[in-house]
Subunit: 210 residues, 2 copies
DNA sequence: CATAGATGTTTACGCTGCAAACATAGCGCG
DNA sequence: CGCGCTATGTTTGCAGCGTAAACATCTATG
């Protein structure tokens, strides 16, 4: 039977309007809900109210959609670090401690997205430049903290990149261990924060100018 | 036509002999070769010279096979740390530095297995106890190093577990960043080792008794 | 106002993980 | 010694997946 054409636009219009964002959003939600392995593109489509082939007008393939999700994640993460930095102007030690807490907190609240971001979905020939750039931006936020600390003599180290790497590694490692193999499984955010503080103290001790 | 029965055993016997190990081995190889996403159970079977339903006699499902692979990985990793410890008797600082190098080196040589181990294949209701135990054993190796260092006054910290967490987080974080999102992609093992040493120095500085 | 390009749908295909029914082989018990 | 029981491997079948191609619909541009 012919579908009602024209007058009642109530019945979801043929064109979605903003399918790109809807798909990313739906993918984010379903990803956290079902896990990366159980996430099917078709279910994302169903969730966005669209046929299972529609995404191919906006994404080359499923991996490209996941890259968009990862990119959005890096942007959020970078923003949280930036906010932590702004929260303690002129206090680099407080800035990293707070940034570390924010990092761990965000990751534990979005475990699947975090795993996606740092997993290894890139097959190197498909190194989406946008994704790389978003990750770089998050890195730069940490760099700014360390750089200020080193320029005011609070932090030491032979070069800023080494110190950034040390700090990021420690926080990121804790994060992945928490998400990881079932060894560390704190029940509530309080415990997460306590662990983050332990690592934070050690990091600051390790990179402090002496 | 009826298959030759009995006399010439050349023609691969109906029973494989040691299918369990063969499947784990084949899965390990194919995992590193094709990546976790592209790994199909059917291809593992073909590689082991067996029909695509055979594994179900030995593993509940595909995830169970991957768990066995992960478990073997943790055993290997724990062994490497243990060897690093044995290499510098009475020198805890050298022990962690060397263990850290071994950790990073092993992970970069077996990236897919590492991602599998620390990814998040456990759905918590399927927390295979063997897997948890293998991971715990690797943890214990690090614990022994830190514990000795603290008992001889080389390392500080309020409790051993906190120090272990700090050290492991830093090394593990570096590892995952190297494997990770394309930010750190050192070409050769030399670079990897240099990065490991940077993190190692910071960790030791951070946990040293002062 | 027509029509070209962008956006969404339908249909189809090969591959996947898994279950059920079937075949074979080795092992213990009479 | 032989018979069947059980462990192991195979075949067949199914629903769901990602993706491509052909088709339908809308929207914007001349």
């Amino acid at each position: 039977m012919m579908k009602n054409s024209g007058h009642t636009r109530r019945e979801r219009p043929y064109h979605h309007g903003d399918l790109y964002s809807s798909l990313v959003k739906a993918a984010e939600d379903l990803l956290e809900e079902k896990g990366a392995n159980a996430l099917s593109l078709r279910e994302v489509c169903q969730c966005a109210g669209v046929s299972h082939a529609a995404p191919y007008r906006h994404f080359r393939d499923k991996a490209a959609l996941m890259e968009a999700v990862a990119k959005a994640g890096f942007n959020q993460l970078g923003e949280m670090i930036s906010e932590a930095r702004a929260r303690h102007p002129g206090e680099p030690e407080m800035q990293i401690l707070d940034a570390g807490r924010a990092y761990v907190a965000w990751a534990t609240e979005n475990p699947e997205r975090t795993r996606l971001m740092f997993g290894g979905m890139m097959k190197s020939d498909t190194i989406d430049e946008d994704l790389h750039q978003a990750a770089e931006a998050a890195y730069d936020e940490i760099y700014r903290i360390i750089d200020e600390g080193r320029s005011t003599g609070v932090f030491g180290g032979r070069d800023t990149d080494s110190v950034v790497l040390s700090a990021w590694s420690a926080v990121h490692g804790l994060t992945m261990l928490i998400l990881g193999s079932g060894k560390l499984t704190p029940e509530n955010p309080r415990d997460v924060r306590a662990l983050a503080d332990i690592i934070g103290d050690t990091v600051v001790s390790g990179i402090r100018s002496r």
